[in-house]
Symmetry: C2
Subunit: 504 residues, 2 copies
């Protein structure tokens, strides 16, 4: 298939230009809504051309910076390229790029970390300012001017609807068989005119297969043939396998107790190796007819579909290793009736998550003995990535689980601490904590009762004595005994790490 054949609308064919020409249409000071969710469906050429453009201005002594809004994280060609030329004034709602992170933590780039389900509505509400330009990758432009979405949806619908001007990247690398795997919901309204989101099963179709797009707003069409760039997963290590084992055993126990159906409830799992290990564990389990209502579709979930264990998966993006991506593209027909991609305001919608009764599993940086979770900040001050969709899922899930190895940095850091250095998920939203050491079921426990199971079941044995000792001293410190703390010491583990390189 030639690249040209992907732009079937005559009006838009006339707007085809080079990435450099398109990037030159983006002035300094604007907010740009770009496609991209994990390493999928981000524009491949325009951000890099824009970075060159910005660099030229910067070298001429002019300050050229824009606001960059996306679905979630992207790839080096977008976040890396723009951050490396210091071209980003404000980044939202999520990032995971090393250059971007370095700029943010150096105070050179502002960053707003937002629940992924909130982003689209905040733009519609006018809470984030004006969206000037959309730069959206699509798999093709149809004769009627509607757009074929590609490997992620993210906030693209909102960007296309809300931006004054639109630049389209038509990527002929995107598999044409993706057509029909998308469900773009056009029923959202502003309050007070909102209606129920009519999803009652993960596979329910409630929208359209294509993006609507006003051709008059399109200022450029750029053709490309470039692959998505996702990170390879490392094979599950011992810790990940042990965490997965605890999770599977717990789910089996819940089924036995009658608290979960035999085929569980729709699964959500965050990005990463532990999540993939849990999926691998499910593949080896006796569970069948599983479903998923999740944010990203990873290798492990694709394997579950392949093996016939998973009947249906709804997501907003693929987040596959190069190998899995090749497998998907080679066998798209086998998968296409079992996968649906939706806008992230729907994949992460609290209403739908609560209704479906999701089993939610997300990674974390650290948890404290009372079950508060830090998903975002290193030692309280430095951002790692962002909260992403973890809050959308954890608070509204049927079961909310957070997972991490019990130690980091070769044992210098305990991931179970007296008090987390930053809170993203409060004790109210955290039901189950899992490390390679074991699982803490916190449902129906008071904070003091939680402390005991978190320390004994989840903390690394090396850190248990110090955690027990902190708890006991806090309990007898004369401070209140709902959530006993000694404020002078609550964050001392982190402080010690900053000073000595170890929490020990």
């Amino acid at each position: 298939m030639s690249q040209a054949s992907r732009v079937l609308n005559a009006t838009l064919r006339n707007k085809i230009m080079s990435a450099d020409e398109a990037a030159a249409l983006i002035p300094s000071g604007v907010n740009v809504g770009m496609s991209g969710f994990t390493g999928s469906g981000y524009p491949k050429l325009v951000p890099a051309a824009l970075a060159r453009h910005i660099n030229k201005h910067n070298q001429a002594g002019e300050k050229f910076r824009i606001g960059v809004w996306t679905g979630a994280s992207t790839a080096p060609e977008l976040d890396g390229a723009l951050a490396s030329v210091d071209g980003v004034e404000m980044r939202l709602p999520y990032q995971s790029d090393p250059t971007c992170r370095r700029r943010i933590n150096a105070g050179e780039m502002e960053y707003i970390d937002i629940h992924l389900s909130h982003v689209a509505q905040f733009v519609w509400f006018g809470f984030l300012g004006k969206l000037d330009i959309a730069v959206v990758e699509v798999a093709g432009i149809r004769e009627d001017g509607s757009l074929i979405p590609c490997s992620s949806i993210g906030n693209n619908k909102t960007w296309l609807d809300q931006a004054d001007k639109i630049i389209l990247e038509v990527n002929s690398w995107q598999n044409p068989e993706l057509e029909g795997m998308h469900d773009i919901y056009y029923g959202t309204q502003l309050p007070p005119n909102r209606m129920p989101i009519p999803i009652v099963r993960p596979g329910d179709r409630i929208g359209e297969q294509y993006f609507r797009c006003d051709p008059d707003k399109v200022i450029a069409v750029v053709e490309t043939h470039s692959p998505d760039r996702n990170t390879p997963f490392t094979p599950p290590d011992n810790d990940s396998r042990r965490i997965a084992g605890h999770v599977i055993e717990f789910l089996e126990h819940e089924v036995k107790k009658g608290r979960l159906p035999a085929n569980l409830l729709p699964l959500q799992s965050g990005v990463g190796n532990i999540a993939n290990a849990v999926m691998a564990g499910l593949n080896d389990s006796k569970f069948e007819h599983l479903t998923a209502y999740t944010e990203v579709l990873q290798d492990g979930m694709l394997d579950l579909i392949k093996s016939g264990k998973l009947d249906f998966a709804s997501a907003t993006a693929f987040s596959l290793s190069p190998d899995a991506l090749a497998n998907l593209n080679a066998n798209m027909r086998q998968y296409r009736d079992k996968i649906l991609l939706r806008p992230q305001e729907i994949s992460n919608h609290p209403e739908v998550i609560r209704r479906l009764g999701i089993i939610s599993m997300n990674g974390m940086i650290e948890a404290d003995i009372y079950g508060n979770v830090n998903s975002t900040h290193i030692m309280g001050s430095a951002i790692m990535n962002g909260i992403g969709g973890s809050g959308d899922f954890a608070r509204n899930a049927y079961l909310s689980m957070f997972v991490t190895p019990s130690q980091a940095k070769g044992g210098a850091i305990s991931c179970i601490v007296p008090m987390v250095s930053h809170v993203d998920h409060t004790e109210h939203d955290v039901q189950v904590l899992v490390t390679e050491q074991g699982l803490a079921d916190l449902r129906g426990l008071s904070p003091k009762q939680r402390a005991k199971v978190v320390i004994e079941n989840c903390a690394h044995p090396d850190f248990r004595p110090a955690l027990r000792e902190y708890y006991e001293r806090a309990l007898h410190s004369g401070n209140g005994r709902q959530t006993p703390h000694i404020l002078d010491e609550a964050l001392s583990w982190h402080s010690r790490y900053q000073k000595t390189g170890s929490m020990r």
Copy 2:
């Protein structure tokens, strides 16, 4: 109207007995679901009789304790009576009683502080253990055995459905004209069978006027004639009036900017004097055709209905001062078409809150410079009341506002601190902070940008220099600059208060 006439069902008439006889049917070790939400609709006689019963056992050297589950807070006749005899092993999901609080903070009573929308479903899921007995106040029993709810609904539907045994208190003090003001939704299901909650306007009726009740489960009917006991409100002080002024001015500004309709969006407001002052401010404003979708209906909202400013209010309970309650009862006909009481799983349902686009206003204990909010803990360890419904509303609201005076304890405490000592609402869920000093609009701001407006707009001038100095030093500490903190000092203000009685 005689008391007897309120029990019209023949079978249940045969189960009428004294409160002491009924209380004697409650054994030690059980979980008891009691009615009650704020000072409304709690059982008036059985808890006190149970307290006497427990006391007798305790004096005989036997340990007699129960689990007490309610809608939210209750009154001295329930929480106070049971806590004073040390009869409560585990309390959930909310309390605000001084004796109860003292026991909890002394480590003599376990307490689980739960999002109010989560409670009913957790019981249905089996996450909190078995509910053995329900003790529910009603306004009457109909001939067919169905029950007329009274001045609060709370979790009563779930208690009646889930408990093995039921004790009913039929309170003839409750206004008979309450009949018909309730909407009990019987459409909830366990996942994966849940359907949309079909509310699209605050006044939508989706359920039944009465509680269904299996007469075979009823083990006792106790008749009483006792008033609800709510706390009187103090008239708005200067700080409350100034906070209300900032809120109203902000809402007017949002309407002018086109970000809110002229009649706003449905209001939610937490309990307390500041909330009442905001309602009083709305009464003096030019806003009309207001609506409310809230947890409790307070004096200020009743005044808004009376003045014709508020078209409709949905809540789960009345929370009125004695004067306002007398006014309501004397003029029920005037109010009854404009008020609906619902189960708290519906009044606080994330799905409905997000759909309606609520303007949410809740009190807090403290906020930090980055916009994290502590609603529950004094100096990190001691519980005050609980999170209540503030999390249900804040995360799903159109606008989420938190209010507090800038200082407490005569200026010894700053309610704006470097880092909150406990987090209930993360930066992700807090859009607007208001003190008597001013309003901080945090929408679209990064943490560093937030710090500046929180310090300059909300902190008391006496504390601003120290906050600015902390922020600047944190920014240059060499730690990350997303949310700059100095961990050795982040909680030092609270620690100083504990040691010296002042944060100054």
